[in-house]
């Protein structure tokens, strides 16, 4: 990290690190005890660690003079490493909690490792740790290449990545220690939420400053998606997390929203976390890496415009389909259902555009496992968006809601689409940034591909069966008008499916571990820099 920074930049970094350490010290001292104090000490340790690294490098060699004529890829490499570390943590905890549903005693009798506390560790570890790091890292790569400009400065990319990972660590350790505000996918407490806003603003400013330096007149479609991801996630995060802390010196807080309004705000957030965190940014990834890897231009530029604005406008409405038949007013449920069905049009336009792009390159899909990851991602994107619109229809939802069908649907999106496109992007980026043409082991990529595909299919199919069985058992009546099954009978019926999904998840995890190993070996054998360069030399700062 330090070798790529100028001495002046190292000084700025040192100052920021000291401020971080001071902030941690104030938090720890003010809270005195409990989670917030521990989190203060974490920030203090991180700040001091960074200060030592940067302080120690103040008198080392200056950054190479020709650095401004190259893209700045060191943050991307760090982001990819964090992506893979979080993938292994998040997926391992996922397999663990899946196993607990089959084998409830399979965890130490400590509060920190009980199912209810580990479950948000899995969701946050995957969505924010794995997904978020992948988005930030690839966005830096794509932004520079499509703008033909170097990142606007060298300090803020590090601030964004390191600060973001501090948020992730605060969040997951907080849950294990019992600190949560219970809002799904927004469980982190108020000070972590404020911290994320600071990081996010830094990210947005860096993005716009780099765009402003672009040497291409047009902003490429991938950047529209990354911009939508940054902007709308900020909007969702702030509104959903508005809360009043019980005291400024403790982690506990109460959301300002209550009851039915809170439910609507929560699922407006929750479903659009799927839309703008787990879809928009990853479509940005797809729109860059798929054409790059297949060597084919995007099939239709017009279709990409229609699908982009369709997704941005329609998605925001659909959250209320999580609340069918509940105490949410009927009109709001109906709006959610209607827009969910309309959403299929831009979703399939994107998936179709991606698959049509591969026309003429099918031999590459056959031979290149990396491109196959992206192809499978596009197919699963199409499948799970169809399933999503289908499940949002009120009568279908009456059967599927509250069951494992929803869990299966989410995982067909996250495993089949999000993770697959990330792995496709990683296998494209890692050799390139290591000055190579291929990953260290092509066989390992093949193994990873088939483990990922089989794991996803086993997981999703077992959850479909589980969900439909549950839904049907809950609503089954005897001829005399009594319910056929007690609730616990429906729990017992789930056992084989819960076992299968654990195996499916385990296969997927094994693939991710192979990927991490393969990336590590490739990065360690790195020879120099990425070979591509900005079109125009950047003026000296």
């Amino acid at each position: 990290m330090t070798a790529s920074l100028t001495v002046a930049e190292r000084r700025i970094g040192l100052l920021i690190s000291i401020l971080l350490a001071l902030m941690g010290l104030v938090m720890a001292a003010a809270a005195g005890h409990g989670v917030m104090s521990l989190h203060g000490f974490m920030a203090l340790a991180l700040g001091l660690g960074l200060a030592f690294i940067l302080g120690g490098s103040l008198y080392e060699a200056e950054a190479p003079a020709d650095r401004l004529s190259r893209y700045y890829d060191a943050p991307t490499r760090f982001g990819i490493s964090m992506t893979l570390i979080w993938a292994m943590i998040g997926m391992a905890v996922g397999v663990w909690v899946a196993a607990l549903l089959y084998w409830p005693e399979g965890t130490p009798a400590w509060p920190a490792t009980s199912f209810g506390r580990l479950r948000p560790v899995h969701t946050t570890g995957i969505i924010f740790g794995f997904g978020g790091n992948a988005l930030i890292a690839t966005s830096f790569h794509v932004l520079q290449r499509t703008s033909r400009a170097r990142l606007a400065d060298s300090v803020s990319p590090w601030a964004v990545l390191i600060g973001y990972n501090l948020f992730c660590v605060w969040a997951v350790t907080g849950y294990m220690l019992g600190s949560t505000q219970s809002k799904e996918y927004a469980e982190a407490e108020w000070y972590a939420d404020i911290w994320l806003v600071v990081i996010w603003v830094t990210y947005f400013v860096l993005y716009l400053r780099t765009l402003a330096r672009r040497n291409e007149p047009h902003i490429y479609v991938a950047n529209w998606y990354y911009l939508a991801f940054i902007l709308v996630v900020a909007m969702l995060h702030i509104v959903n997390n508005l809360a009043l802390p019980v005291q400024w010196t403790s982690a506990e807080s109460f959301p300002i929203w209550a009851g039915v309004q809170d439910a609507m705000v929560q699922w407006w957030y929750g479903h659009n976390a799927v839309a703008f965190f787990l879809t928009s940014g990853f479509l940005g990834m797809l729109y860059y890496f798929l054409p790059v890897r297949s060597g084919r231009p995007i099939w239709s530029y017009r279709l990409s415009i229609v699908s982009f604005w369709g997704i941005v406008f329609f998605y925001i409405w659909v959250g209320s389909h999580h609340l069918h038949y509940t105490a949410l007013p009927f009109w709001a449920q109906t709006l959610g259902m209607t827009f969910s069905i309309m959403l299929l049009v831009p979703s399939w336009a994107s998936a179709g555009n991606a698959i049509a792009t591969l026309n003429g390159a099918w031999h590459k899909v056959r031979d290149d496992a990396t491109l196959r990851f992206m192809f499978v991602a596009a197919v699963f994107y199409g499948l799970s968006t169809f399933e999503g619109s289908f499940l949002a229809i009120r009568p279908v939802n009456s059967l599927s809601h509250y069951t494992d069908w929803t869990v299966g649907h989410v995982h067909s999106g996250t495993l089949g689409w999000v993770a697959m496109i990330v792995f496709g992007a990683i296998y494209t980026i890692v050799p390139q940034l290591s000055g190579k043409t291929d990953m260290a082991s092509a066989t390992a990529v093949e193994w990873h591909f088939w483990l990922a595909v089989s794991g996803t299919l086993i997981y999703v199919i077992s959850m479909w069966n589980a969900g439909i069985t549950q839904g049907l058992m809950w609503r089954a009546y005897e001829e005399n008008g009594a319910l056929s099954y007690s609730f616990v009978e429906s729990v017992e019926a789930m056992a084989p499916y819960y076992l299968l999904r654990t195996i499916g998840g385990g296969l997927f995890l094994a693939g991710a571990v192979i990927c991490a190993w393969n990336c590590r070996v490739t990065m360690r054998r790195a020879v120099g820099h990425a070979t591509d360069r900005p079109l125009v030399a950047q003026p000296a700062e």
Binding site: F115, P120, F254, P329
Partner: protein
């Protein structure tokens, strides 16, 4: 139209503004009216907020992530009415910051759980679910027998009062004493508790150990209060039947 977009792609702040605009409409149309249309939440006269002990139990319910497997929202479907009881009303969670409607039923819905089972059943079930339901896959919570930390109770009530939950000054000041009193109905503090919260909240030694105020007391008090904060859903069902 395409020409317009062709130009928009060259202006980053234009794209930013257009994205914010397009992404704001849906949220505004769906969320804002929920605060202005009176029929959205019709507060019944008998709706009471949680007592301090129940509130402490609710915080533990949140801390342990119970909401990940248990919903608290009976939908207006025949089988749910037969299985759980009257469908949930928006007013029942009007004082809930946050709501705990849930999104998944790995275990059953809990909206109508209050007073369905005995306190002793809940205590045994929480310590080891498989002692009372052999096929259960619920985690055990043996650590709930530890003492309840009441340090934040009073400021919690004060915070909720600021957000519009009807806790008055006396309730905020006496939060600790009221939490203890609710689990020891024979103590002197009980008169004050009844004065502030009335006769309706169940006041018992919930965990069977009168010597200590435990997290178990709080959780069981909370679970026994579910669905009992107002009679409105039961009345609507009876009226509908007639």
């Amino acid at each position: 139209m395409l020409k317009l977009h062709y130009n928009l792609e060259k202006i980053s702040m234009g794209l930013v503004a257009a994205i914010i605009l397009a992404a704001s409409v849906g949220g505004i149309v769906e969320i804002a009216p929920l605060f202005t249309i009176d029929e959205t939440v019709e507060l019944p006269d008998d709706l009471r907020p949680h007592t301090p002990l129940e509130l402490a139990g609710r915080e533990i319910y949140i801390r342990e992530g119970c909401y990940a497997c248990h919903s608290q929202m009976v939908r207006s479907l025949a089988d749910e009415l037969d299985r759980y009881g009257p469908y949930s009303l928006a007013s029942e969670s009007a004082y809930d910051h946050p709501m705990l409607w849930g999104s998944k039923r790995t275990g059953p819905d809990l909206a109508r759980l209050g007073e369905k089972y005995s306190d002793a059943w809940h205590v045994a079930h929480l310590i080891n679910p498989r002692d009372v339901v052999p096929a259960s896959i619920m985690p055990s919570y043996p650590w709930l027998t530890r003492s309840l930390d009441t340090e934040l109770l009073s400021p919690s009530l004060a915070t909720l009062a600021r957000l519009g939950v009807p806790y008055d000054e006396a309730m905020i000041a006496a939060a600790d004493a009221d939490a203890a009193a609710q689990s020891r109905p024979d103590s002197d503090a009980m008169d004050g508790f009844i004065e502030r919260y009335g006769e309706r909240p169940a006041a018992r030694d919930f965990d069977g150990d009168p010597s200590r105020l435990t997290e178990m007391d709080a959780v069981v008090a909370y679970l026994q209060s579910l669905g009992t904060l107002t009679d409105a859903p039961y009345q609507i069902l009876t009226e509908g039947g007639q």
